[in-house]
Symmetry: C2
Subunit: 732 residues, 2 copies
């Protein structure tokens, strides 16, 4: 009972801890470990952070950190806000008086944590402690993490798991707790989820009424894809303004790993800057081409092989164990594929590092692009193969498939069983649909399961492992290595909780984002094959959103709250997939119209020129439509945009008023009219007559003031009128 | 002799005149004419402009205007510059002290004239005189124009006609005299001219070595088109910065003709604004679709008919007068086409007006787009017909051409002469090349001639007409209506010169721009047919540049110097033509490979799928390449961009320094380290112990200052080390 109360109390309080550093010295010499530890604490103290050390698990200590005095922190906050203003993130400068600035715009948790984290990690030159986990001299610093706010987490999950939709407040809440970058992920997924309702409903009815490969469905879904992509871009801006992060991506964070080639003095600022020649980087970037090709061939051939075997077994082979052997290729894929893509991803990372980018943003973009290529191949190639190779050219290819008979030879009783029938082989139109269903339902569910279960098992394993260790140690009669041995009882529960959180993984939002984008890809590329796709995704994503929340709360360390004003390079991936969709969908519709058997029930009857013409038209129709939709959406106004415009207007107004004072001093021309003007004219004349009066002076002196001009004008006009009358007379 | 000196003097002096208003009252009642005239002069005087009136030609008076005192003008200049700064056109505010502002950045002629013109035309509410020539109550105000600077004009033309290239200074000069908008046209044409040298050289060698329809030429020319278009965009920005007009297009000038539907209070500024619902405008804009289709059908059918007749006569008919009759269709075209396109252009203008845009920019864009569509049809359709209808389907179509035999029936002696041979008709491959040559050489020369000669003849005619009139009047013995009758002798020459300039046309730069863009179109769409195209253009444009200069100097009134930071909507036309080129060129290359007779010497052998595949690949290659080139060019730095960055940096720096003072007041966290921190901690503890000391306080009180932390840490680490040793022992 008492324990339970302690436990729950432990979950309530965070002991005012801002960050915990897990310092691990398992394989470091004692003396060095101590020295480094001292260095660490000193560094933290030097930037005004209070520290407490406690024992950690398995040869590690936990260093608790908090800001020693709020007053200090406010200074940092003000600095960061001024920096934002100067980089144009906020249109107006924060009030000069700090306290006031914080009252008008209170500090939110994520902002606080971000600033402290930057304080810890920024280089000393920029007033930080320059502590870089696992890097350079800080190899012993295993991780820097904030403590979960369990009370909030509990409410969060409770609330979400009982509500169908997330409203703006929910997203704001996330932004306040976990920072804009993660908030953007949830905002995107939420918006995607909401948009999915339409294609789900329409898809369902299309499935019932229009059948497969319906052109109507194709058009509607393409339109939907465009609208969604473009509208999200519109929303992004809005959120950026709402959260006051519009343009943060332009504040570039230097990469510590960046290696400069030479130092030059910037022609603009006059400061010496470290540069890496763009040409040289370009050369390195060109390696992406062989990389992409290589990846395509490696993964492609693996997929193609398995595909071939599968076709062979399911459609040619008819010996024993067929029902079992059919799963052989799937088996190969599920085992080999992860390994391969793991290797390739690793390679992609190295390549991006080798490209040696100056800023985090550039680096992440480069990496994301490569990752996208890999995922594109692994996710879509199988379906593309079926649709555009197997179906149209099946009859030609299948006979050659007997190369794979070696795969099943051991099981076959006689040759006939593995002989490709010379004639009468007909391709299996259902295959494509089966495959799409597999990727859009089965794979998604598996994926979701993995996300939640794998980390869970991992944690289980670790705790077991620790258990065994401590037991062994106990048996060995050594000093009990149990970290919690001499914890102060009132802290015990809290500390054990922290020890657990120290073991958790670090959350990476991009993987979740990637998942969503790839899912969107199936919708835009292949949903015409099976209109129920969106329904499956709708269900999946409702759970996904909650599962991610749970994952962050329970299975990951509390993420460092970074800022962002976009989902970044994934946006381009979205646009690309939408575009590609316009090609694949139209092609599929043409090829598989009347239920997967080509125009006249036979794929061989597909006309090349007709297919290409279809693609040509649909693609250009797409480009045109997208342009129109973009235009229309750009016209839409929104609270965020209004807010921004208002702020801009206010700033502008203030500037103008500041300058008005000067403007007033200058006589407006309008003030000088009529006779004033006459006076000034005469003055001009006088000044002129000082020097000999010139033609010009005489020219302007003929009429004094506007009244004279009018007078002369009248005379001229009247004279002209007279002439006219005379002429008229003469004509008679 | 005396006269000649007067004449030359007249050309030297402008009598300090800033603007001349030609006030015509030919068909207005005398009384009203006088009243309106008084109103006009009064309005001018009210904004501090000095006026002199003189007699004009044919029932008109000339009103000479100048700023009565420079001091007044400076105020206006300062105002306009502050406005620029507030709209972000200039990154820093002009020095508060006007005189200083004008010293650091002297007033250039175009700026002066622009500001005065705006002063005259701006609505009274904005401190102008609200005089709108030919509009509303100012119907009698025929034109407001500045006087040519003949001395400068002479040097200008002399200089240009003797130099091959224009350098930056020449363009700056134009900008200072005629304003940025015209300067941009010359800059564009100059840059285009320079770029032309490459395709001209390459084209010539391709013509000699590679023959027609060479894929190599096609690729190179496509690349060139992309590079030129993208590089010009890059240059535009640079020029914008150089001339200090970057972003002026965002300063929107309200259209006086704009009719608002309802007034609302702007949610942002709180001011009442007049709006016209976007939806309603969209409805009106949709009329563009029927308009475009209508124009296409009307012009298209005309062209098609003439084309048909021509084919019929030249390839079917073999009766008398054939050599003459061949010119029949050309005759029809040259007579009917201008009329038709005149009507359509007029219609386009009305449509754009009907769409009721709020700003001049939006209106011009809308109009330009429509004009482009018309010109696209008239310029390129004939060639497209030949290439993609006549050649591939000639054999099918020609037999039906005998509908045109009525056109020549009267001349035919017998039926055979107008009978389409049932068999053995072969299309004429040379036709396409002939046509391209016609459009890229003959038409260009004719065009150039028209530009220079027509206005000249017009002027001749007018002076004759006036002559006759005055003679008749003289015979009729009425008062001699010769305007110059009672000019003061010393002004006579000057006034007669002004009277001439009053008669001249108003220069419209967009027509010249259109010409260039359309010319570029031939290059990107069809130059593969005849690689010498660029050579012809190179010669043509060298003359064009000079001819335009002469045109502006001699045959047009001095243009009002408007500002601009781009060639505007024509940029989109350029991109579009480049894109389209990637399609037409590839198609032409495929269809006409081996000299205009299809793949195997017979157009009928063209494979639909192969053609489409070619187009598909080339188009996507194009999109990819353009993306790459865009990226590469965006990386290029330039003096202009550096200048801009420097200014931005300076402003930023100043802001930062302004705020630094505040920042200093706040204690940097870094200052508080080690023991200071300890102190603050103890203080915290004290404040805590006032209330009952909580778990949290005790947690943080265990280690006083960082030295304690280090101490405890050491102990923990050492203990762990000991354990490890024990374990190691036990294992043995």
């Amino acid at each position: 009972m008492a324990f339970r109360s302690l436990k729950s109390q432990a979950l309530q309080t965070n002991m005012d801890v801002d960050y915990v550093i897990s310092y691990r010295f398992a394989n470091t010499d004692k003396a060095i470990a101590v020295a480094k530890f001292e260095q660490l604490v000193k560094a933290l103290a030097s930037i005004g952070l209070a520290t407490e050390v406690r024992n950690g698990d398995m040869h590690s200590v936990l260093l608790f950190i908090r800001v020693s005095s709020e007053q200090h922190l406010f200074g940092e906050v003000y600095r960061s806000r001024v920096r934002d203003w100067i980089h144009g993130v906020r249109s107006a400068a924060p009030p000069k008086e700090t306290r006031k600035a914080l009252d008008t715009e209170p500090l939110y948790e994520a902002e606080r944590l971000r600033i402290i984290y930057q304080l810890i990690t920024n280089p000393v030159s920029e007033g930080g402690a320059g502590i870089t986990p696992k890097e350079g001299e800080w190899t012993n610093v295993e991780s820097i993490f904030a403590l979960h706010d369990h009370a909030y987490n509990k409410d969060w999950i409770k609330k979400w798991s009982t509500s169908y939709f997330l409203n703006m407040e929910d997203l704001d809440e996330i932004r306040n707790r976990l920072g804009e970058k993660i908030a953007y992920y949830f905002a995107f997924t939420q918006s995607y989820f909401t948009f999915l309702i339409f294609p789900a409903a329409f898809g369902a009815s299309a499935w019932m009424l229009l059948g497969h490969f319906s052109p109507i469905y194709a058009i509607v879904s393409a339109l939907w894809c465009i609208v969604f992509t473009e509208y999200w871009k519109h929303q992004e801006v809005d959120l950026g303004v709402r959260w006051g992060v519009r343009g943060v991506s332009s504040i570039e964070i230097k990469r510590k790993a960046f290696k400069y080639e030479k130092e030059i003095t910037d022609p603009v600022t006059g400061e010496t800057v470290q540069i890496f020649p763009a040409t040289k980087r370009l050369q390195r970037q060109l390696l992406q081409v062989p990389f992409a090709l290589g990846a395509a061939t490696v993964l492609g051939s693996l997929i193609a092989t398995c595909f071939g075997i599968e076709v062979f077994i399911s459609e040619v082979y008819d010996g024993p164990f067929k029902s079992l052997l059919v799963f052989l290729p799937t088996g190969i894929l599920t085992t080999v594929m992860p390994i391969l893509s793991g290797i390739l991803t690793n390679f992609a990372t190295q390549l991006s590092t080798f490209e040696n980018y100056e800023t985090h943003g550039a680096y992440e973009t480069a990496l994301t692009q490569k990752i996208f290529v890999l995922n594109f191949i692994t996710s879509y190639l199988p379906i593309l193969l079926t649709a555009f190779v197997y179906v149209p050219f099946g009859n030609i290819i299948v006979p050659y498939l007997d190369v794979f008979h070696i795969a099943v030879k051991p099981f076959a009783e006689n040759e006939e069983q593995i002989q490709v029938p010379k004639t009468g082989f007909s391709i299996n139109p259902a295959r494509l649909r089966k495959q799409v269903i597999y990727f859009t339902v089965t794979a998604q569910i598996v994926n979701l399961g993995m996300e939640v279960i794998v980390p869970y098992l991992k944690r289980q394993f670790f705790s077991k492992y620790k258990q065994i260790q401590s037991d062994r140690a106990a048996r060995s009669g050594g000093v009990a290595p149990d970290a919690s041995a001499n914890d102060p009882p009132e802290e015990a529960a809290f500390l054990s909780r922290v020890r657990n959180e120290a073991e958790l993984d670090v959350y990476d939002v991009t993987t979740d984002l990637r998942e969503m984008v790839l899912q969107f890809g199936y919708l835009s590329l292949f949903s015409v094959v099976w209109p129920l796709t969106a329904v499956s995704f709708l269900v999946n994503d409702w759970i996904e959103l909650r599962a991610d929340a749970i994952k962050i709360c329970i299975e990951m360390q509390r993420p460092i709250p970074w800022r962002a004003d976009t989902i970044g390079p994934w946006l381009d991936s979205l646009s690309f997939l939408t575009w590609l969709g316009s090609i694949t969908t139209s092609a599929l519709v043409y090829m598989f119209s009347n239920d997967g058997l080509g125009p006249d029930g036979n794929p061989s009857a597909i006309k090349g020129w007709a297919l290409l013409l279809t693609i040509f038209f649909s693609e250009h129709a797409f480009i045109l439509t997208r342009w129109a939709i973009r235009l229309a959406i750009s016209k839409l106004d929104s609270p965020g945009r209004q807010k921004e415009r208002r702020e801009r207007f206010m700033v502008r107004k203030r500037y103008f008023e500041e300058n008005l004072s000067t403007l007033e001093k200058i006589p407006k021309i309008a003030e000088a009219g009529g006779d004033v003007d006459r006076a000034s004219l005469e003055e001009d004349a006088r000044t002129a007559s000082v020097k000999t009066s010139t033609v010009v002076n005489r020219f302007w002196a003929r009429q004094r003031g506007w009244k004279d001009t009018v007078q002369i004008g009248r005379e001229l006009i009247e004279k002209a009128a007279v002439e006219r009358r005379n002429e008229a007379k003469k004509v008679q």
